[in-house]
Symmetry: C2
Subunit: 191 residues, 2 copies
Amino acid sequence: MEPPTRRERILDVAVEEFGEKGFAGARIREIERRAGLRAGTGSLYRHFESKEALLQEAVAYEVARCRADLEAARATLPVLDDPEARRRQRFELILHELGRWQRLFRLMLTEGERVPELAFAVWDAVQRPVEGDPERAENIADAVAMTSLGGYYFFSLMQGRPFNDVSEARLIEALLAMTSTAPDLTPAERR
Amino acid sequence: MEPPTRRERILDVAVEEFGEKGFAGARIREIERRAGLRAGTGSLYRHFESKEALLQEAVAYEVARCRADLEAARATLPVLDDPEARRRQRFELILHELGRWQRLFRLMLTEGERVPELAFAVWDAVQRPVEGDPERAENIADAVAMTSLGGYYFFSLMQGRPFNDVSEARLIEALLAMTSTAPDLTPAERR
DNA sequence: GTCTATACTCCGATAGAC
DNA sequence: GTCTATCGGAGTATAGAC
């Protein structure tokens, strides 16, 4: 692995700074400081046109890195035969990756209008394509699992501790039990 | 109902402005403009000490109003005997109230450090207290439902349409089916 | 390509007339 | 309690030496 260029170091810390404080709250001087440039000198502008341009490039950079990490993580996982084990594996991966994508989620919530492509990029990478009828029981069960993992992540983030003191392992256990028992999820009107 | 005082009008629009743009991005002149004061004159400071103080009071104001709305909504609901109907009622209420609390959630994510009491206030109001053992099956099932509704709300917000095209009604249906079938949620090691 | 120095703008906040 | 006028500070951005 080559050492990161200065440009990459700037992008790195810019993602952090924008993610933590949003566009308006982010400080160029702070990004310079963290990237190893003298703070407040404007040296950053030899690398990027403006604060706005920096945000755009930082987001694109982080999306690319997150996607690569996700692919890499998927590639290292063993291929499992048991469907339940496969679902557990998937749930654990999702929960883990949510942390990796946290800053992009935050930017999506706070700077969505400023970077409209971000929403597409994130969902394109994160979301398993829905195959066939979205009303299919399997897809609904998957949506419940996905939303539950996402909600768990957000609520835990907000509470600053595991949501309602339910551990990750416990939640996954419950989700597996609920979706494997596979209650009839066909809409009532179709039965 | 009395007409809102100017102070209340300011608090009203301040919640909007802070919620949309965060503390750093919010503009006093914009709040003045929206509250019917001349923009950029600093007239706001006859009512509030500083931007920081305004944020604190705006948050407290919004928490109080959201809580009142929640109580009011609960009070108007009919008392149901059927436990399943009661759960459906509860799920629908949560999904509905999440929209009302949206700005506070956002402020919690973006300005959490600035207003540490906010997290306590919000969770105290929203969260049904966990009775007894948090590992109890009922509480775990409830946590799954709560997280799923929260995640559904957030993801739909981010996607700008119902998450994975699953309608609210459909999600609630699925959650009811999954939690009423009541699979054995006791942790494996206790069986 | 990094620094010094600084221009320029925007914003939060204050003083004081009415 | 709202306006006019303005201060002071902070922040983005630029010009130019090295």
